[in-house]
Symmetry: D2
Subunit: 134 residues, 4 copies
Amino acid sequence: MINKIYQGAKMDVDKKYFSNITSRERAIFEGAISMGALFHQFIGTPVNIDSAKSLEIAISKSLKLQPAIEDVEVRIDLEKLKEVNTEFDYVSLSGDMLNVKIISKIDNIMAIIKMEFIEELNYPLMYIEDIFDE
Amino acid sequence: MINKIYQGAKMDVDKKYFSNITSRERAIFEGAISMGALFHQFIGTPVNIDSAKSLEIAISKSLKLQPAIEDVEVRIDLEKLKEVNTEFDYVSLSGDMLNVKIISKIDNIMAIIKMEFIEELNYPLMYIEDIFDE
Amino acid sequence: MINKIYQGAKMDVDKKYFSNITSRERAIFEGAISMGALFHQFIGTPVNIDSAKSLEIAISKSLKLQPAIEDVEVRIDLEKLKEVNTEFDYVSLSGDMLNVKIISKIDNIMAIIKMEFIEELNYPLMYIEDIFDE
Amino acid sequence: MINKIYQGAKMDVDKKYFSNITSRERAIFEGAISMGALFHQFIGTPVNIDSAKSLEIAISKSLKLQPAIEDVEVRIDLEKLKEVNTEFDYVSLSGDMLNVKIISKIDNIMAIIKMEFIEELNYPLMYIEDIFDE
């Protein structure tokens, strides 16, 4: 049974646009889109210790709206916020402060996409932490 | 008496960088920066009726961190959200859904900056609703 | 033979973070990240017919820097620009004006990721146009 | 003589929305909006030495479209790009790499708005470099 994620769609989007890939590939595809989206939408946002929580919530709620996204966990590193703080008591959100987990699901396949800053690489690496058949 | 808004600053930022404009001009300057920032940071964010509130809060809390900003009121137009909704139950935040008021203050001068979508112009106009000496 | 895309990396990123997926899955992963990134980085940018070309070039050059991306073709719909034009001779870039093709490559697998606005869905759909072994 | 910057407007925007401020204040207002916009639109964009020029051009051309903006000079600091470079030969554009000058004009008043990273403050400061009657 195919689980239509575009339920209200007038056309059969899954059949027309996604029949060339497997459920596993599509879970990866949708999760990866949302991870790239998250980074480039919110990087630059003014943030400090007091506003971090509300930003984490808004990021999570907005990205969960995207196709096939089951859950989005966002953690802004408060220690980093303290370290890099400017004279003006806030900074622009940057990749080294973000730790994100996005869970995407297509049919019975769940993919857990991670983004974390790898100090050794000086880079916010996105990778697939796990992918499995429920 | 000069009210230093960059209180923790090692240098005297106000004296060094802002002594060429009046308090009134600076209130306009800082409020306008934050309005431009708000629009271009958050336009494109996935949003629907359920997530709008958390996004309004996060936008407000983040922009309030900027220099001289006293308050930020953000209203995402839920009627517009319903109207333009896609088959996938969310849209990208766009200028025609946003109604924003930013209040900036320098010394005793308060500026109320507005952004609202003007249908006749098909444009999210930013202007100064009011500016006064408290 | 494994084609290391992070060539200068001190650690073996491919082995450590990507050995749980196939080359085909990774081509999809990296292409999808870049598509999500592109949309959320540039939506909202002021654009008109005169500036569209320079924006297409900058978008393409910036996204081509991301891991595994071979090519990025961006087309901003000039007809749409004319249609939606405001009284002020420019608009904010939105999803319905964008047509993008991103080509990602891992080992000998090439993925062609598309984004196009589907009128019937009122949605800028991202999908895999083709994926093949060279 | 009032120089209408919204020339094609059906309504008299200047009279309706901007008659409560002077030409000097409005030059500050429009320039500041565009500076805030520039920062928050483009921060996060992937960039390296090879792509910096095309990004500078696109940023300049897009922001010049905004009301009252005469010129936009953008310089991405190539030395900084080299310094902070990652293992992957590109970085996300951040405030410490940007040096911007925006020239706004209302009637015969020109404002030169600057953004530059002030090391002592660890902050990309926006200020008015000069404002004068031509």
